[in-house]
Protein backbone atom coordinates (compact mmCIF):
# COMPACT_ATOMS: atom_id res chain seq x y z
CA UNK A 1 0.00 0.00 0.00
CA UNK A 2 1.19 3.47 -0.58
CA UNK A 3 0.01 7.05 -0.20
CA UNK A 4 -2.94 7.97 -2.40
CA UNK A 5 -4.21 11.49 -2.72
CA UNK A 6 -7.61 12.21 -4.17
CA UNK A 7 -10.26 14.93 -4.33
CA UNK A 8 -12.09 13.67 -1.28
CA UNK A 9 -9.01 14.15 0.83
CA UNK A 10 -8.66 17.67 -0.48
CA UNK A 11 -12.22 18.41 0.61
CA UNK A 12 -11.59 16.93 4.04
CA UNK A 13 -8.46 19.01 4.35
CA UNK A 14 -10.37 22.12 3.38
CA UNK A 15 -13.02 21.36 6.00
CA UNK A 16 -10.43 20.91 8.72
CA UNK A 17 -8.63 24.11 7.78
CA UNK A 18 -11.84 26.15 7.53
CA UNK A 19 -13.12 24.72 10.80
CA UNK A 20 -9.87 25.69 12.46
CA UNK A 21 -10.07 29.20 11.06
CA UNK A 22 -13.63 29.56 12.34
CA UNK A 23 -12.45 28.55 15.82
CA UNK A 24 -9.55 30.95 15.54
CA UNK A 25 -11.72 33.90 14.56
CA UNK A 26 -14.41 32.88 17.03
CA UNK A 27 -11.99 33.14 19.93
CA UNK A 28 -11.54 36.83 19.12
CA UNK A 29 -15.26 37.38 19.68
CA UNK A 30 -15.40 35.83 23.13
CA UNK A 31 -15.28 38.59 25.77
CA UNK A 32 -12.62 37.35 28.17
CA UNK A 33 -11.38 39.51 31.01
CA UNK A 34 -8.94 37.06 32.52
CA UNK A 35 -8.17 37.10 36.22
CA UNK A 36 -9.07 40.81 36.73
CA UNK A 37 -12.62 40.13 35.56
CA UNK A 38 -13.06 37.73 38.45
CA UNK A 39 -12.32 40.62 40.80
CA UNK A 40 -14.88 42.74 38.88
CA UNK A 41 -11.88 44.77 37.76
CA UNK A 42 -12.29 44.35 34.01
CA UNK A 43 -15.11 43.76 31.56
CA UNK A 44 -15.77 40.26 30.34
CA UNK A 45 -15.87 36.70 31.53
CA UNK A 46 -13.37 35.99 34.27
CA UNK A 47 -11.45 33.07 32.89
CA UNK A 48 -8.86 32.09 30.32
CA UNK A 49 -9.60 32.43 26.62
CA UNK A 50 -8.47 28.97 25.60
CA UNK A 51 -10.45 27.08 28.12
CA UNK A 52 -13.61 29.10 27.74
CA UNK A 53 -13.52 28.66 23.99
CA UNK A 54 -12.77 25.00 24.51
CA UNK A 55 -15.57 24.62 27.05
CA UNK A 56 -18.15 26.00 24.67
CA UNK A 57 -16.75 24.53 21.48
CA UNK A 58 -16.43 21.07 22.98
CA UNK A 59 -19.95 21.20 24.38
CA UNK A 60 -20.96 21.87 20.80
CA UNK A 61 -18.80 18.94 19.73
CA UNK A 62 -20.70 16.66 22.13
CA UNK A 63 -24.02 17.71 20.59
CA UNK A 64 -22.61 17.41 17.09
CA UNK A 65 -21.25 13.95 17.85
CA UNK A 66 -24.66 12.83 19.05
CA UNK A 67 -26.28 14.26 15.92
CA UNK A 68 -23.71 12.68 13.65
CA UNK A 69 -24.40 9.24 15.10
CA UNK A 70 -27.91 9.43 13.63
CA UNK A 71 -27.44 11.40 10.42
CA UNK A 72 -24.82 12.07 7.76
CA UNK A 73 -26.16 15.41 6.59
CA UNK A 74 -23.60 18.10 7.39
CA UNK A 75 -26.02 21.00 8.01
CA UNK A 76 -27.87 19.73 11.06
CA UNK A 77 -24.54 18.61 12.48
CA UNK A 78 -23.00 22.06 12.13
CA UNK A 79 -26.16 23.76 13.40
CA UNK A 80 -26.48 21.56 16.44
CA UNK A 81 -22.82 22.04 17.25
CA UNK A 82 -23.31 25.78 17.08
CA UNK A 83 -26.43 25.69 19.24
CA UNK A 84 -24.85 23.50 21.90
CA UNK A 85 -21.89 25.81 22.04
CA UNK A 86 -24.04 28.96 22.22
CA UNK A 87 -26.16 27.52 25.02
CA UNK A 88 -23.06 26.84 27.11
CA UNK A 89 -21.58 30.27 26.50
CA UNK A 90 -24.83 32.10 27.19
CA UNK A 91 -25.56 30.14 30.34
CA UNK A 92 -22.08 30.99 31.57
CA UNK A 93 -22.36 34.69 30.82
CA UNK A 94 -25.89 34.92 32.23
CA UNK A 95 -25.04 33.28 35.54
CA UNK A 96 -21.84 35.29 35.69
CA UNK A 97 -23.93 38.42 35.39
CA UNK A 98 -26.15 37.19 38.25
CA UNK A 99 -23.11 37.45 40.47
CA UNK A 100 -22.08 40.86 39.13
CA UNK A 101 -25.49 42.34 39.78
CA UNK A 102 -26.67 40.49 42.87
CA UNK A 103 -23.46 39.85 44.80
CA UNK A 104 -20.91 42.47 43.77
CA UNK A 105 -23.71 44.93 43.09
CA UNK A 106 -22.42 46.78 40.08
CA UNK A 107 -23.89 47.84 36.73
CA UNK A 108 -22.25 46.33 33.65
CA UNK A 109 -19.99 48.63 31.70
CA UNK A 110 -17.25 48.47 29.13
CA UNK A 111 -14.27 50.79 29.36
CA UNK A 112 -13.20 50.38 25.74
CA UNK A 113 -16.07 52.35 24.15
CA UNK A 114 -18.06 55.41 25.20
CA UNK A 115 -21.37 54.10 23.95
CA UNK A 116 -22.45 50.49 23.70
CA UNK A 117 -22.66 49.93 19.90
CA UNK A 118 -25.86 47.87 20.23
CA UNK A 119 -27.93 49.50 22.96
CA UNK A 120 -26.32 52.97 22.74
CA UNK A 121 -26.11 53.16 26.54
CA UNK A 122 -23.35 55.51 27.77
CA UNK A 123 -20.55 53.56 29.46
CA UNK A 124 -17.97 55.75 31.29
CA UNK A 125 -20.26 56.97 34.12
CA UNK A 126 -20.87 53.36 35.07
CA UNK A 127 -17.21 52.31 35.15
CA UNK A 128 -16.14 52.10 38.77
CA UNK A 129 -13.12 54.21 39.75
CA UNK A 130 -9.85 52.30 39.66
CA UNK A 131 -11.18 49.61 37.35
CA UNK A 132 -11.54 49.07 33.62
CA UNK A 133 -15.18 48.13 33.57
CA UNK A 134 -17.10 45.23 35.00
CA UNK A 135 -19.74 42.73 34.05
CA UNK A 136 -20.86 41.66 30.62
CA UNK A 137 -22.86 44.42 28.87
CA UNK A 138 -25.07 43.64 25.91
CA UNK A 139 -22.44 44.19 23.26
CA UNK A 140 -20.08 41.73 24.95
CA UNK A 141 -22.91 39.26 25.44
CA UNK A 142 -23.83 39.34 21.77
CA UNK A 143 -20.19 39.15 20.79
CA UNK A 144 -19.72 36.13 23.03
CA UNK A 145 -22.72 34.45 21.45
CA UNK A 146 -21.23 35.02 17.99
CA UNK A 147 -17.90 33.66 19.19
CA UNK A 148 -19.57 30.54 20.54
CA UNK A 149 -21.45 30.15 17.27
CA UNK A 150 -18.22 30.24 15.27
CA UNK A 151 -16.46 27.96 17.74
CA UNK A 152 -19.28 25.44 17.70
CA UNK A 153 -19.51 25.40 13.91
CA UNK A 154 -15.72 25.15 13.71
CA UNK A 155 -15.57 22.26 16.17
CA UNK A 156 -18.28 20.37 14.34
CA UNK A 157 -16.63 21.10 11.02
CA UNK A 158 -13.37 19.62 12.25
CA UNK A 159 -15.17 16.59 13.64
CA UNK A 160 -17.12 15.87 10.47
CA UNK A 161 -14.19 15.02 8.14
CA UNK A 162 -12.34 13.22 10.93
CA UNK A 163 -15.28 10.88 11.30
CA UNK A 164 -15.68 10.52 7.54
CA UNK A 165 -12.06 9.48 7.15
CA UNK A 166 -11.77 6.94 9.91
CA UNK A 167 -15.40 6.06 10.54
CA UNK A 168 -14.52 5.86 14.23
CA UNK A 169 -16.29 8.34 16.54
CA UNK A 170 -13.89 7.97 19.46
CA UNK A 171 -10.81 8.60 17.34
CA UNK A 172 -12.48 11.46 15.47
CA UNK A 173 -13.54 13.09 18.73
CA UNK A 174 -10.01 12.99 20.10
CA UNK A 175 -8.56 14.37 16.87
CA UNK A 176 -11.17 17.13 16.90
CA UNK A 177 -10.35 18.00 20.52
CA UNK A 178 -6.65 18.11 19.71
CA UNK A 179 -7.03 20.30 16.63
CA UNK A 180 -9.50 22.50 18.46
CA UNK A 181 -7.01 23.19 21.23
CA UNK A 182 -4.25 24.14 18.82
CA UNK A 183 -6.59 26.51 17.00
CA UNK A 184 -7.82 28.02 20.26
CA UNK A 185 -4.38 28.64 21.74
CA UNK A 186 -2.95 30.49 18.73
CA UNK A 187 -5.56 33.31 18.71
CA UNK A 188 -5.48 33.64 22.48
CA UNK A 189 -1.75 34.25 22.28
CA UNK A 190 -2.54 36.82 19.63
CA UNK A 191 -4.91 38.75 21.90
CA UNK A 192 -2.63 38.11 24.90
CA UNK A 193 -5.31 36.68 27.05
CA UNK A 194 -7.96 39.38 27.24
CA UNK A 195 -10.41 40.97 24.84
CA UNK A 196 -13.86 42.51 25.17
CA UNK A 197 -15.43 41.46 21.88
CA UNK A 198 -15.73 42.85 18.39
CA UNK A 199 -15.72 46.47 19.59
CA UNK A 200 -12.35 46.11 21.31
CA UNK A 201 -9.39 47.71 19.47
CA UNK A 202 -7.51 44.44 19.91
CA UNK A 203 -10.05 42.77 17.64
CA UNK A 204 -8.33 44.40 14.66
CA UNK A 205 -5.40 42.06 15.20
CA UNK A 206 -7.41 39.06 14.02
CA UNK A 207 -5.72 38.77 10.58
CA UNK A 208 -2.46 37.88 12.32
CA UNK A 209 -4.02 34.94 14.12
CA UNK A 210 -5.84 34.05 10.93
CA UNK A 211 -2.56 33.67 9.07
CA UNK A 212 -0.93 31.68 11.86
CA UNK A 213 -3.98 29.44 12.21
CA UNK A 214 -4.06 28.87 8.48
CA UNK A 215 -0.53 27.50 8.43
CA UNK A 216 -1.01 25.46 11.59
CA UNK A 217 -4.34 24.20 10.25
CA UNK A 218 -2.79 23.04 7.00
CA UNK A 219 -0.06 21.17 8.86
CA UNK A 220 -2.65 19.49 11.08
CA UNK A 221 -4.96 18.75 8.17
CA UNK A 222 -2.19 17.02 6.24
CA UNK A 223 -1.62 14.73 9.19
CA UNK A 224 -5.28 14.09 9.78
CA UNK A 225 -6.20 13.16 6.23
CA UNK A 226 -3.13 10.99 5.79
CA UNK A 227 -4.16 8.82 8.73
CA UNK A 228 -6.24 6.26 6.87
CA UNK A 229 -7.66 3.13 8.44
CA UNK A 230 -5.36 0.18 7.90
CA UNK A 231 -6.58 -3.25 6.99
CA UNK A 232 -5.66 -6.01 9.41
CA UNK A 233 -2.14 -6.92 8.43
Amino acid sequence: MSLVFDTNMLIYMLEIVVGGLLVSVGVHFVPVGGAPAAMAQATGIGTGTVTLAAGSGLTGLLSAGLMMSVTDNIWPILATGAVGSMIMMDATMLTGDFIYSYAVGCPYASAKVNYDPITMFPQPPYVAPGTVGQGIPTVCFVSGTIGALLGGVGGAMIYYPCLQIGGNPAQAAIFAIGIFFVQAVIPSWNIQGTIEGFHDPKFKKWPLAFKASLVAGILLAIMTVLIQPLGVA
Binding site: S2, A54, A170, F180, I186, L208, V215
Partner: protein, 270 residues
Protein backbone atom coordinates in the same frame (compact mmCIF):
# COMPACT_ATOMS: atom_id res chain seq x y z
CA UNK B 1 18.00 19.72 55.11
CA UNK B 2 20.40 22.23 53.67
CA UNK B 3 22.71 19.46 52.56
CA UNK B 4 20.19 18.22 50.01
CA UNK B 5 21.92 18.37 46.66
CA UNK B 6 20.10 19.95 43.77
CA UNK B 7 20.92 19.72 40.11
CA UNK B 8 21.02 22.00 37.12
CA UNK B 9 20.61 20.77 33.59
CA UNK B 10 21.11 22.62 30.36
CA UNK B 11 18.30 22.61 27.77
CA UNK B 12 20.54 20.82 25.27
CA UNK B 13 21.34 18.09 27.76
CA UNK B 14 17.68 17.67 28.56
CA UNK B 15 16.80 17.49 24.88
CA UNK B 16 19.25 14.65 24.43
CA UNK B 17 17.94 12.84 27.50
CA UNK B 18 14.39 13.33 26.30
CA UNK B 19 14.88 12.16 22.73
CA UNK B 20 17.15 9.25 23.49
CA UNK B 21 15.32 8.15 26.61
CA UNK B 22 11.89 8.16 25.06
CA UNK B 23 12.83 6.62 21.72
CA UNK B 24 15.00 3.91 23.26
CA UNK B 25 12.32 3.26 25.88
CA UNK B 26 9.63 2.80 23.26
CA UNK B 27 11.74 0.41 21.23
CA UNK B 28 12.79 -1.46 24.35
CA UNK B 29 9.15 -1.90 25.35
CA UNK B 30 8.10 -3.17 21.97
CA UNK B 31 11.22 -5.27 21.45
CA UNK B 32 11.10 -7.01 24.81
CA UNK B 33 7.37 -7.58 24.48
CA UNK B 34 7.82 -9.11 21.04
CA UNK B 35 10.77 -11.22 22.10
CA UNK B 36 9.07 -12.73 25.11
CA UNK B 37 5.65 -12.84 23.48
CA UNK B 38 4.04 -11.20 26.51
CA UNK B 39 2.96 -7.71 27.52
CA UNK B 40 4.94 -7.74 30.76
CA UNK B 41 7.41 -5.09 29.67
CA UNK B 42 4.77 -2.52 28.84
CA UNK B 43 5.63 -0.57 31.98
CA UNK B 44 8.90 0.51 30.34
CA UNK B 45 6.82 2.69 28.02
CA UNK B 46 5.71 4.77 30.99
CA UNK B 47 9.29 5.17 32.14
CA UNK B 48 10.21 6.31 28.63
CA UNK B 49 7.48 8.92 28.93
CA UNK B 50 9.16 10.26 32.08
CA UNK B 51 12.18 11.31 30.02
CA UNK B 52 9.93 13.13 27.60
CA UNK B 53 8.18 14.81 30.52
CA UNK B 54 11.49 16.01 31.87
CA UNK B 55 12.34 17.47 28.48
CA UNK B 56 8.96 19.08 27.91
CA UNK B 57 8.55 20.51 31.40
CA UNK B 58 11.83 22.31 31.05
CA UNK B 59 10.90 23.79 27.68
CA UNK B 60 7.59 25.05 29.06
CA UNK B 61 9.48 26.44 32.02
CA UNK B 62 11.78 28.35 29.69
CA UNK B 63 9.09 29.83 27.46
CA UNK B 64 6.53 30.62 30.10
CA UNK B 65 9.01 32.52 32.21
CA UNK B 66 8.67 35.18 29.50
CA UNK B 67 4.95 35.55 30.23
CA UNK B 68 2.58 34.95 27.35
CA UNK B 69 -0.48 36.63 28.83
CA UNK B 70 -2.56 33.46 28.78
CA UNK B 71 -1.15 31.53 31.67
CA UNK B 72 1.02 28.48 31.59
CA UNK B 73 -1.55 25.83 30.64
CA UNK B 74 -2.30 27.22 27.17
CA UNK B 75 1.04 26.18 25.81
CA UNK B 76 0.74 22.71 27.26
CA UNK B 77 -2.69 22.36 25.71
CA UNK B 78 -1.33 23.36 22.31
CA UNK B 79 1.40 20.76 22.52
CA UNK B 80 -0.81 17.95 23.76
CA UNK B 81 -3.55 18.86 21.31
CA UNK B 82 -1.15 18.46 18.45
CA UNK B 83 0.33 15.35 20.02
CA UNK B 84 -3.04 13.57 19.93
CA UNK B 85 -2.98 13.63 16.15
CA UNK B 86 0.75 13.33 15.62
CA UNK B 87 1.20 10.30 17.88
CA UNK B 88 -0.62 7.98 15.51
CA UNK B 89 0.39 9.79 12.34
CA UNK B 90 3.85 8.27 12.22
CA UNK B 91 2.57 4.82 13.10
CA UNK B 92 -0.03 5.00 10.36
CA UNK B 93 2.36 6.18 7.67
CA UNK B 94 4.98 3.67 8.69
CA UNK B 95 2.36 0.95 8.88
CA UNK B 96 1.21 1.63 5.35
CA UNK B 97 4.71 1.15 4.05
CA UNK B 98 4.98 -2.02 6.07
CA UNK B 99 7.80 -0.64 8.18
CA UNK B 100 6.15 -0.02 11.53
CA UNK B 101 9.36 0.26 13.45
CA UNK B 102 10.06 3.71 11.97
CA UNK B 103 6.80 5.12 13.35
CA UNK B 104 8.15 6.93 16.42
CA UNK B 105 10.87 8.62 14.37
CA UNK B 106 8.41 9.97 11.80
CA UNK B 107 6.15 11.15 14.59
CA UNK B 108 8.98 12.87 16.42
CA UNK B 109 10.28 14.63 13.32
CA UNK B 110 6.86 15.83 12.22
CA UNK B 111 5.99 17.04 15.72
CA UNK B 112 9.21 18.98 16.03
CA UNK B 113 8.72 20.54 12.60
CA UNK B 114 5.21 21.51 13.59
CA UNK B 115 6.42 23.08 16.82
CA UNK B 116 9.14 24.96 14.99
CA UNK B 117 6.68 26.30 12.41
CA UNK B 118 4.20 27.44 15.05
CA UNK B 119 7.02 29.07 16.97
CA UNK B 120 8.14 30.91 13.87
CA UNK B 121 4.57 32.03 13.23
CA UNK B 122 4.35 33.38 16.75
CA UNK B 123 7.49 35.40 16.35
CA UNK B 124 7.20 36.50 12.73
CA UNK B 125 3.45 36.84 12.22
CA UNK B 126 2.10 37.62 15.68
CA UNK B 127 5.17 39.63 16.72
CA UNK B 128 5.95 37.91 20.00
CA UNK B 129 9.67 38.57 19.82
CA UNK B 130 10.54 35.87 22.29
CA UNK B 131 13.97 34.67 21.21
CA UNK B 132 13.58 31.05 22.26
CA UNK B 133 10.00 30.63 21.03
CA UNK B 134 10.85 28.42 18.05
CA UNK B 135 13.24 26.25 19.99
CA UNK B 136 10.94 26.04 23.00
CA UNK B 137 7.84 25.12 21.05
CA UNK B 138 9.82 22.59 19.07
CA UNK B 139 10.97 20.99 22.31
CA UNK B 140 7.52 21.22 23.83
CA UNK B 141 5.63 19.61 21.01
CA UNK B 142 8.30 16.99 20.44
CA UNK B 143 8.32 16.08 24.10
CA UNK B 144 4.56 16.02 24.36
CA UNK B 145 4.20 13.81 21.34
CA UNK B 146 6.82 11.39 22.57
CA UNK B 147 5.14 11.28 25.98
CA UNK B 148 1.73 10.61 24.44
CA UNK B 149 3.21 7.97 22.14
CA UNK B 150 5.16 6.30 24.93
CA UNK B 151 2.09 6.13 27.14
CA UNK B 152 0.02 4.79 24.25
CA UNK B 153 2.63 2.11 23.62
CA UNK B 154 2.61 1.13 27.25
CA UNK B 155 -1.18 0.82 27.15
CA UNK B 156 -1.23 -1.34 24.06
CA UNK B 157 2.10 -3.09 24.41
CA UNK B 158 2.90 -2.78 20.72
CA UNK B 159 3.63 -0.28 17.98
CA UNK B 160 0.92 -1.47 15.61
CA UNK B 161 -1.40 1.29 14.47
CA UNK B 162 -4.48 -0.91 14.60
CA UNK B 163 -3.76 -2.10 18.09
CA UNK B 164 -3.16 1.42 19.38
CA UNK B 165 -6.39 2.63 17.84
CA UNK B 166 -8.29 -0.28 19.33
CA UNK B 167 -6.83 -0.07 22.82
CA UNK B 168 -6.11 3.61 23.30
CA UNK B 169 -8.40 5.62 21.04
CA UNK B 170 -11.56 3.51 20.94
CA UNK B 171 -11.61 3.09 24.69
CA UNK B 172 -11.20 6.84 25.14
CA UNK B 173 -8.06 6.39 27.22
CA UNK B 174 -6.34 8.90 24.99
CA UNK B 175 -8.48 11.54 26.67
CA UNK B 176 -6.82 10.57 29.93
CA UNK B 177 -3.38 10.54 28.33
CA UNK B 178 -4.15 13.90 26.75
CA UNK B 179 -4.92 15.61 30.00
CA UNK B 180 -2.46 13.70 32.17
CA UNK B 181 0.28 14.32 29.65
CA UNK B 182 -0.59 17.98 29.46
CA UNK B 183 -0.70 18.13 33.24
CA UNK B 184 2.68 16.45 33.61
CA UNK B 185 4.16 19.05 31.29
CA UNK B 186 2.59 22.25 32.52
CA UNK B 187 1.69 21.49 36.12
CA UNK B 188 5.32 21.57 37.31
CA UNK B 189 6.01 25.12 36.21
CA UNK B 190 2.52 26.30 37.06
CA UNK B 191 2.70 24.84 40.54
CA UNK B 192 6.14 26.26 41.21
CA UNK B 193 5.60 29.68 39.68
CA UNK B 194 7.15 32.47 41.66
CA UNK B 195 10.35 34.45 41.98
CA UNK B 196 12.16 31.68 43.83
CA UNK B 197 11.37 28.96 41.33
CA UNK B 198 14.19 26.41 41.00
CA UNK B 199 14.78 24.12 38.06
CA UNK B 200 15.37 20.97 40.05
CA UNK B 201 12.22 21.38 42.12
CA UNK B 202 10.13 22.03 39.02
CA UNK B 203 11.48 19.02 37.18
CA UNK B 204 11.07 16.71 40.15
CA UNK B 205 7.47 17.86 40.37
CA UNK B 206 7.09 16.85 36.72
CA UNK B 207 8.52 13.44 37.47
CA UNK B 208 6.12 13.13 40.38
CA UNK B 209 3.15 13.82 38.12
CA UNK B 210 4.65 11.40 35.60
CA UNK B 211 4.68 8.72 38.29
CA UNK B 212 1.08 9.54 39.13
CA UNK B 213 0.20 9.28 35.44
CA UNK B 214 1.89 5.89 35.33
CA UNK B 215 -0.24 4.76 38.25
CA UNK B 216 -3.42 5.95 36.54
CA UNK B 217 -2.51 4.44 33.19
CA UNK B 218 -1.70 1.18 34.95
CA UNK B 219 -5.36 1.06 35.94
CA UNK B 220 -6.32 1.70 32.31
CA UNK B 221 -4.12 -1.08 31.09
CA UNK B 222 -6.05 -3.65 33.15
CA UNK B 223 -8.54 -3.86 30.30
CA UNK B 224 -6.02 -3.50 27.50
CA UNK B 225 -3.04 -5.71 28.34
CA UNK B 226 -4.38 -7.89 31.11
CA UNK B 227 -4.26 -7.89 34.88
CA UNK B 228 -0.74 -9.09 35.66
CA UNK B 229 1.22 -6.70 33.39
CA UNK B 230 -1.07 -3.89 34.49
CA UNK B 231 -0.31 -4.60 38.14
CA UNK B 232 3.37 -4.28 37.33
CA UNK B 233 2.74 -0.84 35.83
CA UNK B 234 0.65 0.17 38.85
CA UNK B 235 3.23 -0.98 41.39
CA UNK B 236 6.19 0.57 39.58
CA UNK B 237 4.19 3.75 39.02
CA UNK B 238 3.28 3.98 42.68
CA UNK B 239 6.88 3.41 43.72
CA UNK B 240 8.14 6.08 41.35
CA UNK B 241 5.45 8.48 42.48
CA UNK B 242 6.31 7.92 46.14
CA UNK B 243 10.03 8.31 45.54
CA UNK B 244 9.64 11.55 43.62
CA UNK B 245 7.01 12.90 45.99
CA UNK B 246 9.33 12.50 48.95
CA UNK B 247 12.15 14.04 46.97
CA UNK B 248 9.90 16.94 45.96
CA UNK B 249 8.80 17.48 49.53
CA UNK B 250 12.40 17.66 50.66
CA UNK B 251 13.22 20.15 47.91
CA UNK B 252 10.25 22.27 48.91
CA UNK B 253 11.50 22.16 52.49
CA UNK B 254 14.94 23.21 51.31
CA UNK B 255 13.62 26.20 49.35
CA UNK B 256 10.82 27.45 51.59
CA UNK B 257 11.25 30.33 54.00
CA UNK B 258 10.12 28.03 56.79
CA UNK B 259 8.13 24.86 57.14
CA UNK B 260 6.12 24.87 60.34
CA UNK B 261 3.65 22.39 61.74
CA UNK B 262 1.27 25.12 62.68
CA UNK B 263 1.47 28.70 63.76
CA UNK B 264 0.49 32.26 63.16
CA UNK B 265 1.83 34.51 60.43
CA UNK B 266 5.54 35.27 60.34
CA UNK B 267 6.41 37.84 63.05
CA UNK B 268 7.27 40.43 60.40
CA UNK B 269 3.73 40.36 59.03
CA UNK B 270 1.50 40.37 62.07
Amino acid sequence: MDQLKGFKLEPKQLRMYGIIGSVVGIYLTVGLNAMTGTKVFSFIGCIAALFAVLWGANSIRRICSYGLGTGVPAMGMLCTGMACVAAVFGLNIAGRFGFEIAGPIITLVYAMVFGYVVGTLCNKVMKFNIPIMEEGLMDGSGACTMAVLAWSVSLSGSLSYNEIIATVYNTGFLAVIFILGGMALFHPFNANLGPDEKQDRTLIDGMMVGGLAMFGLGICSIVTIGFAPAMLTIVVGFALWYYFFVWYFRLAKRDAAAVVGTGLLPPSAL
